[in-house]
């Protein structure tokens, strides 16, 4: 069997997190009663006209800046015409000929090092409404809800430079991370604020011509994107190696069955009759505005990861985890301001705090433990004021009550006994009260050290600093 390689390009639709829709003032919020976030404009009533939402345009530019695109100072909104019940005007306002961003790129970390995936373009457009298909008695009908109609989207189109399903997944995850850094979208695949179509073709290794492209739709999670592409690569490779052909078509991913199926459609390809929307003038951006938006772009994950490794000595893996969400990285660096222990704090965030974040599905800033507290906790442990075991107790209490580590330690009387004089006193009284064991120890029975440590800890009601107790015992019993 011949070896095949895959050529994959992704078209990602991202819902911008504006308050209102792109061309009217209706709420863009997800999950309202059907047809309750609508107005004559987004429902395509006669006589209505679009007016561009400033925040949508700004966020499209911010996304472009974060992805290294060329921001276009002149872009045009076009109409894309087709009939479908969820498309109220029977055309979608999009940007076909002059999109707002050209070029750009995204670096992904593959197993074999970093790869740069180039972008073709980013354009702005409006979303369509939602269709529900009737069942049972209503099986002959579909139902239309226009709440989502005209919610702002950007479509990010990659060059066909991805070579595997794994790379496609990495690309999508990285895209999500970057877009969340610049806060233009929640990028929630389940709620549909991030949607991905994949163009997949295969060709024999060594071949430079592209194979026939199949578009896959209807993938609703990162996992399904990966699975669908894997399936499609296998399907196409198999077809070709058996001497068959790959038809140019659109296929839908069936997540339950784990296969792609051809979409029922008419033979003739759609002619969308694009032309500039005469109800909107071109979107013009000044250098000043682009610069102003550029200044809002925070340090991005690639750069931040490098800095975390260089400045704080973190491993690539740890740095990756901490920069995977801007909030994680922000939290981390805020904590470092209180107590500069890069590795200690990183470990506590990664092992304890993120567990709480994931278990309770909270933001990292919402766990009840502010960055100052985690820093303080690490400081208490590192100074020997409390033990590591006590630290975990304090942490659990802080999650439960929201109290500061200092307060918890104080209330529980937890702080370690580290006073040398006091410890010497306890040690001496223990030795005095146990002459037999003392004799045996001195005669070489060194395992009895544990017996003495236990007694000292008991005497101090668990507060004695165990390391100091060890040292003092050894010295005194010599």
């Amino acid at each position: 069997m011949k070896e095949f390689e895959a050529v994959i390009g992704l078209e990602v639709h991202v819902q911008l997190n504006t308050a209102s829709k792109i061309f009217c003032a209706c709420s863009a919020e997800f999950g309202a009663e059907p047809n309750s976030h609508v107005c004559p404009v987004c429902m395509g009533f006669p006589g209505t006209l679009p007016v561009l939402n400033k925040a949508a345009a700004d966020k499209a530019v911010q996304a472009g800046l974060a992805l290294g695109c060329n921001i276009q100072k002149f872009s045009i909104f076009d109409r894309k015409s087709y009939f479908y019940p969820d498309l109220p005007k029977a055309y979608q306002i999009t940007q076909m000929f002059y999109p707002i961003c050209l070029g750009g790129f995204l670096n992904i970390d593959t197993g074999n090092g970093e790869r740069r995936i180039n972008l073709t373009r980013i354009h702005m457009e409006e979303d369509a409404g939602k269709l529900i298909h009737g069942e049972g008695e209503a099986a002959g009908y579909s139902y239309v809800d226009f709440n989502r109609a005209s919610v702002p989207l950007i479509e990010i189109v990659s060059e066909p430079e991805l070579r595997s399903a794994e790379e496609a997944k990495l690309y999508l995850q990285k895209l999500r991370t970057v877009l969340r850094y610049v806060k233009v979208s929640d990028c929630n695949m389940e709620e549909g604020s991030l949607r991905c179509d994949a163009n997949v073709s295969v060709r024999p290794i060594g071949e430079t011509k592209l194979g026939t492209k199949v578009e896959i739709k209807n993938m609703n999670s990162f996992r399904s994107v990966q699975r669908a592409i894997e399936y499609e690569i296998a399907r196409q490779s198999e077809a070709l190696s058996e001497g068959g052909i790959v038809r140019q078509e659109t296929r839908l991913w069936d997540n339950d069955r784990g296969i792609t199926l051809p979409m029922r459609s008419k033979e003739n390809a759609h002619d969308y009759r694009y032309f500039p929307d005469p109800d909107l003038f071109p979107l013009k951006l000044t250098d000043e505005k682009i610069e102003r938006l550029r200044r809002t772009i925070p340090e991005l994950p690639d750069s931040r990861k490098g800095r975390f490794m260089g400045e704080y000595g973190l491993s690539a893996q740890d740095a990756d985890l901490l920069v995977s969400e801007k909030d994680y990285a922000d939290y981390y660096e805020t904590a470092l301001k209180t107590h500069k222990s890069p590795k200690g704090i990183a470990n506590w965030i990664m092992s304890e705090l993120l567990r709480v974040v994931n278990d309770k599905n909270l933001g990292i800033f919402e766990t009840g433990i502010p960055p100052e507290s985690i820093a303080k906790l690490v400081a208490l442990i590192e100074s020997g004021a409390i033990s590591g075991k006590q630290g975990k107790e304090v942490f659990a209490e802080a999650v439960k009550t929201g109290k500061t580590p200092d307060a918890i330690v104080r209330e529980k009387g937890m702080s370690q006994l580290s006073d040398k004089g006091e410890l010497y006193g306890i040690v001496e009284s223990v030795i005095r009260e146990n002459p037999n064991e003392t004799e045996r120890f001195k005669n070489g029975e060194e395992k009895l050290l544990g017996f003495f440590v236990g007694l000292v800890m008991k005497e101090s009601r668990g507060k004695a600093n165990p390391k100091m107790v060890n040292d003092i015992l050894k010295e005194t019993l010599k």
Partner: protein, 97 residues
């Protein structure tokens, strides 16, 4: 020349059902118009940018991102007779049609 097949294709895109007589008539009418429009090809438009709108050299205005309440559900549905449980009802759509 625009053929009857072209007209049938366009009518399908425009979602207007035409009978054979109408296809014939529109084919003839459109050929007249397009023939007349052939004179546009004589005009030298080298280097001329399209003027999509009279005030096209303006930039599009932008509105602040503020939500304004508009229609209630019942107002939104009021102009259609084909509504059901807060939705517009349409003939069944086969997914991916």
């Amino acid at each position: 020349m625009i053929s009857e097949k072209d007209i049938a294709y366009v009518a399908d895109l425009a979602k207007i059902k035409l009978n054979d007589g109408e296809v014939k008539k529109f084919t003839s009418d459109l050929n007249d118009i397009v023939e007349y429009a052939a004179m546009l090809k004589e005009v030298d438009v080298t280097g001329i940018e399209p003027m999509y709108s009279p005030n096209i050299d303006e930039g599009t205005p932008e509105r602040e991102d503020a939500v304004k309440l508009s229609l209630t559900q019942s107002e939104a549905l009021a102009a259609s007779r084909y509504v059901d449980r807060g939705h517009f009802r349409v003939p069944k759509i086969i997914e991916g049609q």
